[in-house]
Amino acid sequence: MSLSLDEVRHIAKLARLELAEGDLDATQAKLNGIFGLIEEMQAVNTDGVEPMSHPQELAQRLREDKVIETDRRAAYQAIAPQTEAGLYLVPQVIE
């Protein structure tokens, strides 16, 4: 499988990466290299092997439903670029 340049642009956009037109070819080649690896792995016969969702064969540990966090807003907001009235401010999002 090999990706078209449009697909490379699309993937970059989904990842919010700004790719200059001049970088497209190199990025395409790198991504195609990854797909090449995947193709190699797909050649392995996995019939009857149950897919794993995690490399470790363990079960998720659970936490008791208790509130253990205290308000640390001031500390967190001290390192935020901009805040007001307790809110984090971000560039305008238009719906």
Binding site: S53, R63, E69, Y76, L87, I94
Partner: protein, 490 residues
């Protein structure tokens, strides 16, 4: 084509906020109404290096739900990352479940009003229910050209319940949503507060010519936060799609919002690539394993479910399915009813049902009170029902006594109805001598009606009964009045 040539297909996705203390992956509080960001910890705001730890209480609520709707609880389910960028989602992905959800299948039983005063039964199958985290809130009021972000809600546990596309009208969709709302409150996994966003409905709506096999293209109405809006939005959307197709147009798949001011649905500006979520298993979380011992323990702790209680009301008390369903709409209502019947006696179960669904419900509704705050207690209502059953008072007088009970005229005791009947002299007159005396008076004063009756006018008889009841201030036993009057005229 007329409206009946079209078939409507509706599926619902409902996000229920689970009633835990803490968030699904962190130990921050989910209490409603806090100052912005004071309940957003390092995990919720996605500081580097943090890891999610799953809340047992959230999983347990999912199990409760699955058991309550007869679903399969997956022995192994997996959390996945749903990737998209939005400022109220600081990680850049929402942790959800995708290929392996915790709850699979299940059914909801409904009673759908048919619009003609009756109702019909319907079963809606569930596709799945999965655990996920909520996002934060974006405040779009102008902060000098910036958007404000409150992450208190980020990480709040949600159970998203997905139905099969099996509803064919807004009435069915609303009946489904109400039944689901009833169940999640009944089993105490969600407070059901729609204003605060604890129960949010999205409706997928499509239409197709009757008889066509393939589904039409659907549009998804987002964030319906009341049952009334749901009905309005779906009805508007159905007509909009039919009109569009009949005018030669084609429905485009879209997400729409309902504007309750105009009563219209309109397409949201589509977020580009919004549906390219690139789900993959979250490497930060191991598979969720639920063993049968846990399921059995949760099963043992579940209350009697509304469907089972409804069946009991029908079998033991002889109630109709309609009455039994109404009385099992919430645990509070069913408890009030059970307390009333326990005190009044099973023989009066039907009368108790009529009062709880009738006068009590109407007065509570008008006063905007919950049944747990009813001024007339279950025991007082039972006291009233007993006096109807033993003929101490007629139904007409009972309404009067109920009003007095509501106004606390008989005090707070269980025997308040007796106090009112006694002090206000409302006891039914059953002494035939006394009734005869009243009838004689009425006959003497209404010779015209008597003649009309003798001339064959049946209505005149009812007028005379009415006069007798009036003369007795409603206290004469109506059956006896009828009988004695017939004899006298006969």
């Amino acid at each position: 084509m007329s409206r009946t040539d079209w078939e409507v297909v509706i599926g619902l996705e409902v996000h229920t906020q689970l009633s835990t203390q803490s968030k699904i992956f962190s130990g921050a509080s989910i209490a409603f109404g806090a100052e912005p960001n004071v309940q957003a910890c390092a995990v919720d705001i996605a500081l580097p290096g943090v890891l999610p730890v799953l809340n047992k209480g959230a999983v347990e609520r999912a199990i409760r739900f699955g058991l309550a709707v007869g679903a399969t609880i997956a022995p192994k389910s997996v959390f996945a990352r749903k990737n998209y960028f939005y400022p109220d989602l600081p990680k850049g992905y929402q942790i959800s479940q995708y290929e392996l959800p915790v709850v699979v299948g299940g059914q909801i039983h409904l009673l759908v009003p048919d619009g003609k005063g009756g109702a019909y039964e319907k079963v809606v199958n569930l596709t799945r229910a999965h655990l996920e985290e909520d996002a934060g809130k974006s405040l779009h009021e102008d902060f000098h050209g910036m958007t404000g972000i409150d992450l208190n809600r980020a990480g709040t546990p949600l159970l998203e319940i997905v139905s099969e596309p099996e509803m064919s009208s807004s009435a069915e969709a609303v009946a489904y949503a109400k039944a689901l709302h009833g169940i999640v409150r009944w089993i105490d996994i969600c407070d059901g507060n729609m204003q605060e966003g604890s129960f949010r409905c999205d409706a997928n709506v499509s239409v197709r010519p009757r008889g066509q096999k393939e589904f039409g293209t659907r549009r998804e109405i987002k964030n319906l936060n009341s049952f009334r809006f749901m009905q309005q939005a779906i009805d508007y959307e159905i007509q909009w799609q039919i009109d569009l197709i009949e005018d030669g147009g084609k429905v485009q798949q879209a997400t729409v919002l309902f504007d309750s001011d105009t009563g219209e649905t309109r397409a949201m500006r589509s977020k580009e690539d919004a549906h390219d979520y690139r789900y993959f298993p979250d490497p930060d979380l191991l598979p969720l394993i639920i063993d049968s011992a846990w399921i059995e323990r949760v099963k043992g702790e579940l209350p009697e479910l509304p469907a089972a209680l409804s069946a009991r009301f029908q079998n033991d008390f002889g109630l109709s399915i309609y009455d039994a369903t109404a009385l099992t709409a919430s645990r509070e209502v069913s408890q009030f009813y059970l307390d009333t019947v326990a005190a009044a006696g099973t023989a009066s179960a039907k009368t108790c049902a009529n009062w709880v669904m009738g006068e009590v419900a109407a007065r509570l509704n008008k006063a905007e009170l919950d049944i747990t705050a009813s001024p007339v207690s279950a025991l007082q209502l039972a006291g009233l029902v007993q006096r109807i059953a033993d003929n101490t008072i007629s139904n007409a007088i009972a309404k009067k006594v109920f009003d007095a009970l509501w106004n606390k005229e008989g005090g707070d005791d269980a025997n308040a109805a007796d106090t009112i009947i006694e002090t206000q002299g409302l006891k039914q007159v059953t002494d035939s001598g006394a009734i005869e005396a009243i009838i004689d008076e009425v006959l003497a004063a209404n010779q015209k009606s008597v003649e009309e009756f003798r001339a064959g006018k049946e209505k005149a008889f009812n007028a005379l009964v009415g006069q007798c009841m009036k003369a007795s201030k409603g206290k004469a036993n109506p059956a006896q009045v009828n009988e004695i009057l017939k004899k006298k005229l006969g």
